[in-house]
Each structure stands twice: as structure tokens, then as C-alpha cells.
Symmetry: C3
Subunit: 251 residues, 3 copies
């Protein structure tokens, strides 16, 4: 049955090394586990400095996709099982599958949180750096089935998290890692999404920022606003020379 | 009745301060008046230098929208009235509404003008700096209903006006203000638009450039080319240090 | 009958001069020949340095289009003949038409070649610099009929050729010319295209790189992967000052 893959979850991802302008990105991907209704894909990203030939791993990521029927986008299609080279690979995959399933459920339950504006907030408080942006999902943001690309949402989430981090530190900041991102619900073309971020924790060396994506369906739809995605980003503060700086503590 | 807002007019807008790379733009908007078939929206734009925390008003704009039925895009829907805090707000709004209505009518009447190419024009004449560009309206330029975004048209108009100004002055130039922009007619996806600009006036300190947008409907349509938008832009000439320079007079 | 023009072929194109950031591009085009089912268009590109007024020809190109019916995209429409100023223009046009027709046929026949990955290739061998990228054709890549714009494909082909050239030379490289590009088959929105390039020849001063575009139709289609486009690019190697450098010989 013809189908399309919807991104359901991205596992925790570390950004090990920056990718620079003029470098060539090598992205490779393979299926590492299949459950009845989902596919685990392992992606590796290398940067290649084309003038020196030097290659570096910039990040690795694990993504879970769910196949949706092309004819009925609300129907999840069955996944043909893959063959494993060794029995342990299947067992380890099943363990990862069960763990992420549990985590998705838990994330969904504590997802009622809303970020309210704060009047005249003090520097280094949560209210001072919290930020949000809104975006109308146009044709270029969406797949052929008319749902937003997961990558478009993740880019906007990282943008908001970066603004929160920079407002807190007043320095250059860079993404160190992203905790698991759960895509709870599809978002349809024409929706307006609100991406909100707030500082949730600081250590001496890094900041944790929680980001929510809420979707308001297009005017034509009877549906209410809903929480579509949520995740935690970790940022570090950098000097102009690119050295890590201490992070001001959250009050 | 489900509807979509079509941009009908942007009031005169001053650009008070530049927005720089790396700054965060704050855009806020509220409805300030409703007539039976239109909505006035006041938009404020602030720039925030995230490292210093400094905020500046970069511009304010007033936009008029007309709600069109989703089922029949040629039908204008009735606007539910808003509640005003004070009676004077409604009276002032009605005055603004009547004024813009009159101005739209007048603009439409003097809209027959066409810009013809000039062979071997002398420097500093109208023919020397006049410019035009053509653009095929693709999916990314359009709303979900398949009509061009007003912002796409305005960006192209500013681009043409900037080329006219730079050709006249041979310096860096910057938009100081835009006079009221009237969107006389919708423009459909697949249309080819021609954006033409010519210098209409110079003072010692600034230049006025008139810009027209003409639309040729897609091959499949029986409609003729029509004037869709027109506006006047004011530009100033800048030295490399960003100081205002005198403008060569139009011959 | 309403129709849309599909790009069938671009003749050999020389890039005479670079186009710089901030310059204005002047693109003019005219029909120079019509056969029963195709149109030859001559395009000239000038760069204008707006501050000095200097204009330079950056390149000229000849493109062949085939008109397809809007109602049935597999039907080629008849072209109304143009009037020629002189009889020789028609004769010369017919000669160009016959030549390109022959060349298209020949290119199609030798198009079975595939680029295989090489394990641990030696520097300056074909396998060392060969490169490929994949791209999902989204709405912004396509015309209103849902087929990819020729320009999108050509840009990606040039990108791959540039990576091949830079990997071979480990220097800055620039496109000097593109040999005739034949668009053998349309590519539909939703297809995944693989663009592959390999070094085919080096002289002391330049490199020739062959680029293939293979299309995998969207999951819903029964069609197999097919070769959609192929072309040869010529690149030169440049020093940091922009002077031509000798090219390492292909082993």
C-alpha cells in the first residue's frame, strides 16, 4: 500500500562539532529497527573540509517514523520487517522501541504547560529571557501530503531556544544537544504555529531551554489549538574567540 | 463563515531606523477599526540588539484587510464589529476609513500610466534610471488560496525602487518611507508580474520613485494584463559611512 | 490551445565573466527559430555595476522548449511559426534544429552509464572525487504543472560538478562552461533525484566533469528509476587571488 513516512520522534542528539560555510555535508542513513507500525532510522552526519580533505563527525541522530497511508492519512500502515544480521540487534532495537514508547507517553501527559508573558521581568529570571514566535505554514514548509516537515519545526524550535539563551547570557551561544523531540500530532498546511521557549535550568557551563510548539488549525477547521511538539535544548555560551564562557545563574 | 484576509492597502510608512543582521525583530499587531467589509490593523516593529538589550522602533504601519469567503473568493464577508474603549476611537477610525476609501478611488483613476523604454537616455533623466523586472508567481509566493502575498509584491516593488534610486545617484541608497500602497486587484498564482519604477521627483535630500505592478494572468485565463498595485517610495542617498548625501537633481 | 513550455535542451554555454553580489542582472530573451513542435530561445545576460554604471556580458545561452498541452501534459502542441527578417535566418535556424535533434538522440543512446562507489580511492583518480547528492522535489522546485524547473536541476548539477572539481584540486574552482544539457524526460513533483558527477578529463588548465540526474518517481507511481538529464561541465582551478592554477592530472 503506497504510504508516506511521518516523523514521530527524534532521540537525544549531540552536536559534536560545528559545520562551517563552504564545507560539504555527508548525510547517511539506515533502518536499524522496525516495529509493527514504526521504523527506526540511524542518521550520521560528517563535515568535509574540501580544501584539506579533513572529515569530522558533526552529529548522529536516531529518528522514528510512522508510515501513513497515501489514501487515508489517518491510517497507519503496517511495516514490512527487516532482516537483522544478529539476533541481539533485534532485541536491542525492541528495547529502544519500548523505551521511547514509554517516554512519548510521559511527555504527552505533562504537556499542559503554557508560557505566560511577564511584565517588567528582572534580568536572569525565567520571564526575562522567555521568547516566542509565530509562523504561518506555507507550501514550502510542507510535504506533498500537506503536513509540515519535521525539519522545519525543529529549525524554528532551535531559533527560539537560541534567542532565549542569547537574551539570558548576552553573548554568542551555540546548541550543544537536543533532548528527545516528540511529535505528538501532525500539523497541517495553513496552520499558524506558536513556538515558545523558556530557560528551565542553568549549570556553570550550560543552559537548558524548554520549547513548545502549539498549532492553531486553519480557519476552516473546527479543531482547537493543540500542543504539537515539545523538547529540551542545551546551549553553551561562547566568547568572541569561540571559547566557552560561564553561564549567569537563573534566578 | 470561514474566510481569508486579503491585503487591500498599506498606509504611508516611515522607516525610522535600520534592522541589523543578528537583531531580533518584535512584530506586534492589533485591530484598531472595523467597517462593514474591512479591518484596520496597526503593526509595530521593534528591533532588539540581543547582546546589549537595546530596543528601537524601526517602523509602524497601518494595513487594511478585506475578508474573502473561502468558498467563493470573489465574495466579501461581513466583519463582526469590535468594541472600542472610547467613543472617539470609533469616530477617528471611521474618519481614517473614509479618507483611505477616497484615496483608493483617486489612485485607481490615474492608474493608466505606462513606462516606456527610452533609447540612449542622458544621465539624471527619468529614462536613464527607470527599471523593471518580471517575476513568475510560484507556489512559495502565494497564500493557500493561490493569490500572491502582499509582502512578496511589496518586497519586489522596493527592490525595483532601490535599483532606480541607485542608478540615479550611483551611491548606496536606503528606503526612507513608502507612501500608501493600494492593492487594486488580486493577483493569481501562475501570473507573470512586471514591476516598473521611475523617478518622479528629487529634492536636495531625497528621491521619490513611482512603482507600478502589472499582472499578466496565466496562459489559461482569458483576462488581459491589468494594473494590480501602485505606490510611491522615498529614498535617500548614503555615503559609505552611512551619512546622507545630496541627491543629483532630476533633469 | 493553452500550453506550458517544457525545457528540452540548453546549448553549450560559456561563462565569460562573473556576476558579483550587489550587481544588477539584465536578462533578455527572444525567439530565434520555431520548428513544428519546438521553440529556440536566445538569452543574453549582462551584469551592471550600479555604482560605476559598467555593464559586461556574463553569458549567452540558447534554450529549446517544447510546448505541452495544459489539459494533457503528455501531448505536444503545434508551434505557430515566427516571421524571419531574412530567409537565411530560417535556414540557419533549421540547421541548428537538425543538429541538436541528432545530438539529443546520440546522448540518449549512451546514457546507460552508472557511477559506482569506490572503496579507499587514491587521490586524483576518478573514484576519489566522484560525488552525488539526493534531493526530494518539493513545491518550490516545480512549475504550476508539477514538474521540476530546468533551472533547479541545472543549479544542483553545477553544485555537484563544483564539489567534484574542488575535491580533485583542493582549491577554489569556478564553472567555465557547460556543454549541451539534454532534458530527456520530465521529472514530477515528489520524485527523489540523484545527481552524480565524475571527472572525465583534465587538461593543464581545466577539468571536464560528467553529471547525471536520475529520478525515482514518488512512491505512488509504478514507474522505475530513469535517467532524466545529463551534461558535461568544464571547471577551472583558481588561486586565492582569482588567478588560474594548473590542474592536477587525472590518474
Amino acid at each position: 500500500e503506497p504510504c508516506v513516512a511521518a516523523l514521530a520522534r527524534v532521540e537525544r542528539t549531540d552536536f559534536l562539532s560545528p559545520m562551517c560555510i563552504g564545507e560539504v555535508a555527508h548525510v547517511s542513513a539506515e533502518i536499524t529497527y522496525t516495529s509493527k507500525h514504526s521504523v527506526e532510522v540511524q542518521v550520521n552526519v560528517l563535515s568535509e573540509n574540501i580544501l584539506t580533505g579533513a572529515k569530522k563527525v558533526t552529529n548522529k541522530a536516531t529518528l522514528w517514523y510512522v508510515p501513513l497511508s497515501l489514501k487515508n492519512v489517518n491510517k497507519v500502515v503496517e511495516v514490512p520487517p527487516i532482516q537483522y544480521a544478529r539476533k541481539e540487534q533485534e532485541d536491542e532495537g525492541r528495547k529502544r522501541y519500548e523505551e521511547q514508547k514509554l517516554d512519548r507517553l510521559e511527555t504527552k501527559q505533562r504537556n499542559g504547560d503554557v508560557i505566560f508573558p511577564v511584565i517588567n521581568p528582572e534580568p536572569h529570571t525565567v520571564g526575562y529571557s522567555q521568547s516566542s514566535l509565530i509562523h504561518l505554514l506555507g507550501p514550502s514548509d510542507c510535504t506533498l501530503l500537506g503536513f509540515v516537515h519535521g525539519g522545519v519545526t525543529m529549525k524554528l524550535m532551535d531559533e527560539v531556544a537560541g534567542i532565549v539563551a542569547a537574551r539570558h547570557c548576552k553573548t554568542n551561544v551555540v546548541t550543544a544537544s537536543v533532548d528527545a523531540i516528540n511529535f505528538h500530532e501532525k500539523i497541517k498546511k495553513g496552520s499558524v504555529i506558536t513556538i515558545s521557549g523558556r530557560m528551565t535550568f542553568t549549570s556553570n557551563k550550560s543552559m537548558e531551554i524548554e520549547v513548545f510548539v502549539d498549532a492553531d488549525p486553519f480557519v476552516d477547521e473546527p479543531q482547537e489549538r493543540y500542543r504539537a511538539v515539545s523538547a529540551f535544548f542545551t546551549y553553551v555560551s561562547l566568547s568572541k574567540e569561540g571559547k566557552p564562557l560561564p553561564v549567569p545563574q537563573l534566578l
